[in-house]
Subunit: 345 residues, 2 copies
DNA sequence: AATTAGCACTCACCTTGGCAGAGTGCTAAC
DNA sequence: GTTAGCACTCTGCCAAGGTGAGTGCTAATT
């Protein structure tokens, strides 16, 4: 069977109407709402074809049709009219986001809030993977007996502090001497490259302080290692919006969804992928079957050309793809610009 | 009408059965499950009295009775058998919490998680009010042009960093000189007392640096001012547990509840109060009418005798008060001890 | 050959009525 | 003062029937 123009129009109509109403759409509805110039009976025949081709399906005999995942995919790839973001939304983003960037984390969190407010969907914003992140400065401050505060500044400007055990026989001052060597020589080294990098030189040079260096290295590694799932590396916004979607009127679904929301690792999987640029994942295309009724639009944002993190929106497969894509694209752009400017400042 | 012993027994039976089953309890049920030595008919008469007295109510004619807020109150105040926490729970707390206290914030978050796991309710843990908190050390680290990182260590051991604008004509070093003066002379001053305190002396002494001092003061004040609602000063745990309660099988209720959960200020109201010690707030006793079907048990924990913060559990009015109270009490004790020990270390 | 009108059929959804079960309140007996 | 018995009430459940939206098929129309 061939996908002619009329079939496309009908599929598009079905998807759009279903996105708007969340009700299975029948042949009469289409002929009424969309002016295709053919009778419901013709549409019925075409719909029957579309169903055979796998683009739409019937929840039960004698009800309207709803798009299948394949149908959404076809819609997104070929039928959807890409829309530009409304000016009012753009302004809102510009105004609100730039006033809120005293710290990178805040900017990310706010980005998420904006996305979810504008789309009425759930937003996900992922911080840079720390392993990938580049350490710029390192400081140690005295804390309690046997402990010190390690302050790390990454290249993207984020500041973090951790309390580390330094043992009784090392002083904060010693650590800071070391940190200064680091700051002067090694600004801009990936954490994971530290051991094999310049630090090896220092290591050899200052064999007296070997123990202390070892300690610094291991604290850094454990601080930036992957198993720090607890840290809020991912920002979630507008989770409540999901409750407004008719597909989540079932309390059990809400429960499983929200328990996933509390598992950062699962969320990261959802929007993190190897491909560059923006990606639309529809329904069963998601790796986790919990999200088989959800779609995700995700994209990576950049700072100074280097990959930094991802943002995404999550919603039911029946979501307004054009709008969601528009905002993710704009936000990627906006965040990239924001963080890049910030860097220069 | 007088509250004799039999009425008390019956009320207690009603409350306990309703807590266990969430179903209105009838006279037959009581006579079956509880051995009161009287017939259902007698119980019926007594229940009629109890209803007139306001302790129980009927959802609809010819159904069993459920406790009213007043009934719960009477139960909590006079009837409830205070239980000790099970040993297994106590051990769990001891084992898990002490392994997780590299930072105060983590300890608090973990406390909340434990409370909600053990009670199957929602937990709230409030950090110390920053205005009340006592500043111990202050450091400035270089950041970008015109900005510095201000690291503050409070007496309770919590460490925080903020990025502050220092303008072009002040250097981080100047700030640190000042901070050192502070660190040597003023460790342990309330933030809100700073201006009127020792700093005034320095202020006079070092009139040359007046501008810089002014700046430090104002950043400190804005950092610790009350309007920092965004900061996660409150930890919420086990929100999903609420979904398992039959009283929240209504999606609308879930929605309003969860939207409240996102408003930190409302949550703070819920567990923060002037009175010392542990407080049980039942149903309509809550100031916010959204929580008219919820009860809150809250208590303040202390560090070295000074008030520090509150913890609480939130659940439906039909909650296991004895257990919830037991764990809040134990947690208050445990947290106080933990943070106090930490201090000495 | 494609399109349309007409018709029978299906299925979800709503309403209605009947029935069982649990509970109460009242009265009379113990 | 307590209990047994009985009439009454209300909820929850199930089945039956009606309605409306929708489909699939066939025959007529263009």
């Amino acid at each position: 069977m061939k996908m002619d123009e009329r079939k496309q129009k009908i599929l598009k109509a079905i998807v759009q109407d279903y996105i708007a109403t969340a009700e299975p759409v029948g042949s009469r509805t289409i002929s009424r709402k969309f002016d295709l110039g053919v009778s419901p009976a013709t549409i019925r025949n075409e719909m029957s074809d579309l169903e055979e081709m796998g683009f739409i399906e019937q929840p039960h005999t004698s009800s309207g049709r709803i798009p299948s995942d394949i149908g959404y995919r076809y819609y997104v790839d070929y039928l959807m009219a890409p829309i530009a973001l409304q000016k009012v939304d753009k302004n809102r983003i510009k105004d609100q986001i730039s006033s809120k960037i005293s710290e990178v984390e805040e900017a990310l969190e706010y980005t998420g809030k904006l996305i979810s407010q504008i789309t009425n969907l759930t937003s996900l914003v992922l911080c840079p993977r720390t392993k990938e992140s580049v350490l710029q400065k390192l400081y140690f401050l005295p804390y309690q007996q046997g402990k010190a505060i390690m302050v790390t500044i990454k290249e993207n400007g984020s500041v973090e502090n951790n309390i580390v055990d330094i043992g009784e026989d090392t002083t904060t001052e010693e650590l800071q001497v070391l940190a200064n060597i680091f700051n002067e020589n090694m600004g801009g080294t990936r954490v994971r490259d530290l051991k094999s990098g310049l630090l090896r030189e220092i290591y050899n040079e200052l064999s007296r302080k070997r123990k202390v260096i070892d300690f610094v290295l291991s604290s850094l590694e454990s601080t930036f290692s992957d198993n720090r799932e607890e840290s809020p590396e991912i920002y979630l916004g507008g989770t409540l919006n999901m409750l407004n979607q008719p597909e989540f009127h079932d309390l059990d679904k809400v429960k499983t969804l929200f328990s996933i929301f509390e598992e950062n690792s699962k969320l990261k999987e959802l929007i993190h992928h190897d491909k560059e640029g923006r990606i639309v994942t529809i329904g069963s295309e998601n790796s986790n079957k919990v999200f088989k009724d959800c779609s995700v639009i995700s994209a990576t944002y950049h700072v100074n050309g280097k990959e930094i993190g991802s943002i995404g929106v999550l919603g039911p497969t029946r979501m307004d793809y054009s709008k969601a894509i528009a905002i993710v694209d704009y936000m990627t752009f906006s965040l990239t610009e924001l963080l890049t400017n910030r860097q220069k400042k």
